[in-house]
Symmetry: C2
Subunit: 408 residues, 2 copies
């Protein structure tokens, strides 16, 4: 089918021809309504006219950045990778990924489960909501998606097939290379330049060559370390959550990259929230909960990742009877530590880039009071710098938690 | 064109239809003669009947390992990657790569320059020949092929295209994973088992868990570090040489892998030759020459790699004006050191695997006297172990040379 951009009318025509969709709606008449998704794509809610509880979401990519307009072209093939990643992750752990009812790479669209009882996690965190299952859920999601798409689980040939499927996500990887690892640390037109000009902290950051040298190392890892299939943009805005459930959405940045990048993205966003509650709400109870959450996530992730590994005595990496259990366990321990170290480094880059780069986070750039915002920026940069400068030398999860706590 | 396996008669028919070939021979009548190439493929020499000096080589892959027979299937698509790599490397530095006159991925064949004034370098080294230009040539070849196919030179999108072109070389990468990094260090049917049984040194190696843990790290790098397009099997049997010229042939193992793997392969094979001359010929002058050769190659490689980098102020990794010169130079210094460290680790794996694994090297397994052969094996394992255990801590090229010299 040839690509065409849908609207609320043509979407109905299109959907009526898809058997799986009409089956979902019991052949009821349907209604399509556009909702603002924000940045990149067009998003519609499809509802049955007979039973309002029956609903799906349709998401279609257009060949430009939606929030800017046609003058900012961005290939719609990003949806190809979102579709592939959604399906792959759903297969690995269905409870944390919206179910796909229909997808077309030609049309750059996906129709999936409507998550109407969930909110974007970032909003919940800003409101100081405690999600008691989140550490359990996200650690399982990360351990499973990372482990089962790596050379630790896959056969050599299957890993290469996976690389084939995602290697083409060039444009979105390039966005990360530029925005996360480069432009945000130098004078650049994409930055939040009103804030950068004459801001001594910005100038200090841009001249911090020790920091920038380590960022280069981490950028190189991002580009050349093909550990596993990543979500690629795992911040708290990519998580839909309620008391009981957690869904990870929007994997359009999916690619084969370093283990630590997804974990680092999540860590960075939780720390950004910790900064918000330090500077703005001063909610000590919530801050303690956040620190424990971070510790829990990292501990559970490590444990689960290692548990998955126990099942895999043979893989691309391990040949049966190659080494004794003790040696393999030591190897695995070092392996997990290296993942944590890289995660910390990537978290530092991700935090620092949110300060003056394009697309800040609500918790910091959203602070209305200029003095408080600047305080939050300074705190974010201090923690980010600690992360980036010390990522190769931490030895355990406690080191990470202490680092956050001790900055202020 | 559909694949069919050629013979001396059908090869003539095939070649007569290729314009570039007939042009090379001025439309002379041609003669085709099979020569044993050894392991994997069928190789023919094509000669003009009028002018015996005019000759080309035809190499065709068959869907099995030629030296074993049809009972050892090996996909003929390996030739696809050899063709692509030959063309890519020729484009980067034509003086060290045989010129391709015709290639067909469908037919799994390539017709190229006949190197009749050159010998396989391994033979020359065994005869203690000194090649005065070799360090200059091979350092240029390695620096250029590695640098220009990496994210240090390529744009992000071009690097991904390159990965697309070589990602499918699954079978030959799997061979390396198994044979270089696993089977040779454990009881395995593919090993040189007559020598392994009741050999205390073999048993010591197979039980050396510290060594094997580091080999796992290096195997992981081999599988997941996508630095640059590698030759993939750069031993002294893949080099054709004479007084003045050096050609690198047989890149069928080409893939996108870690910088250090090609350099390590070469280093391992030069050290194996050093061991041969230590144990068998006791030729001290040649041994000194070999050590100086190794030092020269590594020094020239480092210098040339860095020189190529000077031209590239912008690439996937470097964004113009991101950091000052001093910082970039420090980053580059660390980068080169890491390449050398990985090279050393890979060299250790490659040396150790040649001792008891399948496909030994002539310099060691070819030693007829059993006592001397065992001495050479012990020496190879000692150096290999030093390399693998210390690869992460060396600080300069001198450390490497001293390590070789001091083992015996």
């Amino acid at each position: 089918m040839e690509y065409k951009q849908l609207n609320t009318h043509s979407a109905i025509e299109y959907l009526k021809q898809i058997k799986e969709i009409m089956k979902f709606f019991n052949n009821d008449d349907i209604n399509v309504e556009e909702i603002g998704d924000g940045n990149l794509n067009f998003v519609y809610i499809i509802k049955s006219k007979n039973d309002k509880a029956k609903a799906l979401v349709l998401k279609q990519a257009v060949p430009y950045l939606r929030c800017v307009g046609e003058e900012f072209p961005l290939s719609r093939e990003r949806m190809t990778y979102e579709i592939r990643a959604l399906k792959k992750f759903y297969k690995i752990f269905p409870s944390f990924v919206p179910k796909v009812y229909h997808a077309s790479e030609d049309m750059s669209l996906v129709v999936m489960e409507f998550l109407d009882n969930h909110i974007i996690m970032r909003k919940g965190l800003i409101e100081a909501k405690q999600y008691k299952n989140f550490a359990e859920h996200i650690s399982t999601y990360m351990a499973a998606t990372l482990f089962y798409t790596s050379s630790l689980a896959l056969k050599s040939s299957d890993k290469r097939k996976l690389i084939d499927e995602f290697n083409g996500n060039t444009e979105l990887c390039k966005l990360t290379e530029d925005l996360v690892f480069s432009f945000a640390f130098m004078q650049h037109e994409t930055n939040d330049n009103e804030n950068v000009l004459d801001n001594e902290n910005a100038i200090k950051l841009f001249n911090d060559m020790d920091f920038k040298k380590n960022v280069l190392e981490l950028k190189y890892k991002f580009m050349n370390q093909s550990d596993a299939l990543l979500h690629g943009d795992l911040h708290t805005g990519s998580i839909m959550i309620n008391e009981n459930e957690t869904y990870i959405i929007d994997p359009e940045f999916a690619f084969i990259g370093p283990f630590g990048f997804d974990i680092g993205a999540l860590l960075a966003n939780l720390v950004n929230n910790y900064i918000y509650h330090t500077i703005v709400t001063k909610d000590e109870i919530y801050k303690s909960w956040l620190l424990e959450l971070i510790r829990n996530i990292l501990e559970k992730f490590s444990k689960k990742f290692l548990n998955f590994w126990v099942e895999y005595k043979e893989s691309a990496l391990f040949v049966k009877s190659y080494a004794d259990e003790e040696t393999l366990n030591e190897y695995k321990k070092d392996f997990i530590l290296n993942i944590l170290r890289d995660s910390l480094g990537f978290a530092g880059c991700k935090m620092a880039r949110r300060v003056y780069g394009v697309a800040g986070v609500e918790e910091i750039r959203g602070i209305k009071n200029h003095i408080l915002r600047k305080e939050a920026e300074v705190m974010a940069l201090s923690i980010a710098r600690e992360f980036v400068m010390k990522y190769k030398t931490i030895n355990n999860i406690n080191n990470i938690v202490e680092m956050i706590k001790n900055v202020r």
